[in-house]
Every structure is written in C-alpha cells, then in structure tokens.
Symmetry: C2
Subunit: 333 residues, 2 copies
C-alpha cells in the first residue's frame, strides 16, 4: 500500500489539493475555485474526504493531512490567529475542527512556511541549508529556513516578510501598519498603484482596460502592457522591485542567508522588477552577504505549499507515530 498525505493549499479564491508520497511525488492533484459565499472549511473537508475515499479504492493508505493556510498560525495549537483572506477567522481552532472529521494526524501550517519547506525539500532550495522564501501574490508571504529548519518564531507567527516597513510614511496596509512591503510589491499593490496613476490622468495604454465602475487593470494587464513598453506599467514594476530590494537588503543584513527564493504569481514578472530590485539591494546591503546570496525563482511553483505541507505532516508522524495517532483516536471515540 502506498502511504500518502493529503495536502491542501487554501488561498483566497482557490483551493489546491493533492496526494503526496513520502518521496515528495504528487500522485494526484487538482484545484478548484471557491465561489464567493462558500464556507471554505466545509469545502476543504468535502474535498479531502472525496480524495481520501477515491484513494482508498485505489489502495492508498492515507496517513495524514497537511493543510497550508494563509494567515498567522499558532502552530502548536493549530489555531488560525488571523487571516488577511478570511477576516472572520479570529483564533479559529482549525486543527480541532478538522480532527472532528479526519481520524489521522493533521498539521496546519502557514502557506508561505509550507511553500518554503516544499522548495527546500524538492525545489530551488534543495541546494541551501538557510534560505528565505517570498510568495508574491495577492499579498506577500514569507518563510524562513535556517540551518535546515523552518524558523516560525516562538509562537509560529514569524516570517511576515510582507509586513516589513519599507516606507514609514507609506500608504496604510490592512494589517494596521503603513508602508509595508505588501502595500507596494504585491498584486494588490500593483493594482492600487496603477489605479491611482490613472485617476491622476497619467497617460498609459492601461487606461484601455478601465471598465465600468471601479474596474482597474489586473496585474496581468500591467505585465502585458509593460512588455509592450508602456511607461506607467514599466514604472509600476520598477517600484515593485525597488521596495522588494529594500526589504531583501534588510533580510540579507539581518540573516545572511544562502538563498532567497521568489514565488507566487507576481514572481512571473521577475524580468520586469529584477533590475530595480537588484539595484536597491546593491545600494543597501553589505557587500559580502549580498554577493553570497543567490536570488532564484521557485521551481515547484504552485506545488510548493502542497509538497511542503505533506513533508511537515510526514515528519510529525515520524516524530510521534503512536502518540499522535493515539491522541487523534482519543478525540474521536
């Protein structure tokens, strides 16, 4: 029988799910859109059940669930303290909720941490013992791997690279701070900067994408127009790179890592933001750690968090094979 972990990666609008082997191979995976108004946790439970049941018929032995979740996670207790994508989640006991349905070990992890762990196991981080991952999508997530181990902070709340202050007087962030990296160097930041420029009548081919009401050009529209040479679109990615550079210089000076891995949708525009990012790092970081650090793009991309969450669950089972199963059992019967 093939031992497998069901791994999930919950985003704001999509759920990814896969069955992962102890070697890090994904046997089956898919993603589904989360229609607005849907209870994401109910959907997650339904999909995990369905994949488990269909797997059992194929002879899989499903031994655990690794769930990557956006937001600040209290890792020890399996609680989602807060989540930018799910504002209603305040101290949500997700692990306990899931363990009512699933009778195998469950690991809840911040999605960027899971992503980092996946890249370290099977992706661009394989060559490093100490590296930092940024997932640049709707927001900016961060994961730190130091000397082969995920550094989550003492309560599992560290790694919030997206909320490093890069401009102390910058625009407000949903986290309560202002001038966070995420305010500029994210899909949300790109959309905001372009919308504000167009409102100020900056000339740009992007104005053609403005539709009825509030509709603004998407980050992909901005990417396409930048590739065609539109000045506003190019300038927007330059700012994305500039503030990424400010934050990465901080990280290089503070942690002196071997590598920095960039993932998430916005990282696909690497060629557009990399020049200003590198320029800013060269200006701000010490020479020796700057020359040492390799800045790479993720290689597993959309699979990183699934593979990382699965690995974390396999390790959890290995650490306490009987006790964690026993504990799960006690909750159930």
């Amino acid at each position: 029988m093939t031992r497998l972990i069901i791994a999930t990666d919950l985003g704001g609008t999509n759920l990814r799910i896969g069955a992962v082997t102890p070697e890090g191979k994904i046997l089956k995976k898919y993603f589904i859109h989360i229609p607005s108004g849907t209870d994401s946790i109910e959907l997650l439970k339904a999909e995990v059940s369905a994949l488990t049941e269909s797997g059992v018929k194929k002879g899989w032995q499903v031994v655990g669930l690794g769930a990557a979740v956006p937001g600040v996670i209290d890792i020890l207790r399996g609680i989602v303290t807060e989540s930018p994508n799910y504002p209603a989640w305040k101290n949500l006991p997700l692990k306990r909720i899931l363990s009512r349905t699933f009778h195998f070990p469950i690991v809840i992890e911040n999605d960027a941490n899971a992503y980092a762990y996946g890249e370290g196991w099977k992706g661009a981080g394989k060559q490093f013992r100490s590296f930092v991952v940024l997932t640049i999508g709707t927001g900016v997530g961060g994961g730190l791997v130091l000397d082969g181990k995920l550094w989550r902070g003492v309560d599992g709340m560290g790694g919030e690279i997206g909320h490093i202050t890069v401009d102390p007087d910058g625009p407000p962030c949903h986290c309560g701070n202002r001038g966070c990296l995420e305010v500029f160097s994210s899909a949300t930041g790109i959309t905001r900067m372009v919308r504000e420029a167009l409102q100020q009548k900056v000339k740009s081919t992007l104005s053609e994408y403005v539709g009825q009401g509030d509709r603004s050009p998407t980050p992909y529209n901005v990417y396409v127009e930048a590739k065609k040479g539109d000045a506003l679109a190019l300038r927007t990615f330059e700012i994305v790179g500039k503030f990424l550079g400010v934050a990465l210089a901080d990280i290089i000076n503070l942690l002196n890592p071997e590598g920095i891995i960039l993932g998430g949708g916005v990282a696909r525009a690497f060629s557009l933001f990399a020049p200003s990012m590198k320029e800013e790092i060269a200006l701000r970081a010490y020479d020796a750690p700057r020359k040492r650090v390799k800045i790479l793009r993720s290689t597993l991309k959309d699979d990183s968090a699934l593979i990382g969450a699965a690995r974390l669950c396999f390790e959890e089972i290995k650490k306490a094979p009987s006790s964690s199963r026993g504990r799960q059992g006690q909750f159930k019967r």
Copy 2:
C-alpha cells in the same frame, strides 16, 4: 588551578579586558582608553599578555582567548571583513595574527553577537531561548539568539540590525546605504540630529554646549537637557525611539522572538525614547507577537561582551579540546 578565558571587548576608543571563569564570573577586569594613533591590535596583544602573565603568577590556568570585535566577522576563518570603527581593516586575518603570539585556542566574535551570548548566559536573556539584542552606542549592533544558538548567518555576517532601512530616503550611512536605523538611533545619530537642528537655529538650551569650531553637544548633554525639559533634546530622543520602533516591529514580524534586549550607552536613556518606540511598535507589528515579546534593558551592561566571548571560547574548547589545541600548537612550533 582556576581555568580561565581572557576575554577582550574592543571598541573604537576603549579596550575592555577581563578574566572569566567557566561559571561566568569575572575575576579581574579593567578598561583602558586607546589613544588616537595607537595600533589597537598591538595594544590588545600587550594587554592580553600582561593579564595572562599576572594571572599565571596567581595560579590561573589561562586556556583561551575570546575576542569581541566591532564589524563584520567571517567567523569560520577568524577574519574581520570590515569594521566601521577601523576603516583600514579589510579582510584582516585577526585570528591568525593573534595566534602567532598566543598559544591557546582563540575565538573571534562580532561584539554584538558576543554581547547577546553573554546576556543569554548570565544576563537579561537567561529567561529566553530566542531573543534579539541591540547594542546602541556609537553605532547599533545586533545579535540574534534563536532556540539557544547564536544565528550569525551562513558566513557569520548576519545580525546587522543597525543597517535595517527605516527610512528609504533618509540621510546616508557610512555603510553605503541611506536611512539605516543607525543613522538615527545611535550616539552618532543623536549628535548629528542636534547639530543640524542648531545649525537651523532651533532654540534650545543645547546651544550653550556648542564650543569652538565644530564641537557639538554630546549624547550625554542631550540626555541631561532632555531631563530638564528642553524641547529639542526631547524631540531628538523621540526620533531615536520612533525609528527603533520601526526596526523592532520588522524584527517582531519577521522573527517572533520572546525577548528584545537593549544595551549600549544610549540604552541608558530608555525612559526618554521608550514611549515613542512602543507607540511605533504598536502601530506596526502584529498584535500577538507584539504582546508576546518582552523588551528589556541589558543587565550585564559593559560586561556582556566579555562574558559572551568567554563562553563562546569555553564552548569551542569543549567541542574540540585536543584538535584545536593541537592545531594551535602546529602553527607555533
């Protein structure tokens, strides 16, 4: 025979030296001023020799040298890559230089790292497994202790908290960046801010301290006048606290530590800068890790780096007692 480490803490203008027991007690210590134009390394060698010789007469067994040094240190090779206090030191092979004179194990460590390790062993950090130290003096040094171990980065060049960018368009820093924490929240920063304000004819009792030529009020003068209620002096410490808050919020969001320990001369003005520092942290850091972290003043103060450097040398000896002595011996005879 009492086994002892000779520990040194080299600053820009002073050398501290002490003899430390395996229990972290300092049996003898003193500090001497380094007259300008003096070769600091020759002075260090002379003082270590003198203390060792006087100790041997008392029956000490000097088993090693732990040297805390300002600057970026390549810890594995014992090389000072660069040092703000000693601009001429570029890739200086300090360990090799010292081992020509001293025939016992030698550990070279960044002064802020040694300070952090000392606080963790015998000072305010005893209660923590994971904490961050800032030494706020002429510059701002940083040391990270994560899960009981010094995190130096992969090349021993991490921990440069003083060079986190807190204002991307701020004044230039000697490191090549602009708007570093150190530009504002250090003795140098205080002196600069007051000098600039007085040049702009800001009314302040501090103008009484301006002497012939370029002489500006010292940070101590600013402290004294702030205590008396001078608005410029108070405002200066408010800025010190504000930018400390920006950097500490980054660290709280990134590392989620149990504690932050503030040492160095400027930390004596804690009551003056703490309000704006705390306000800024409350604005910028996530609630949960902010409420968790304890911000304390160092308890060992001037002894922290000596005690930390000694501890690191004791550990080095314990790790490889024969090999490291043997290696030292081979270099010599």
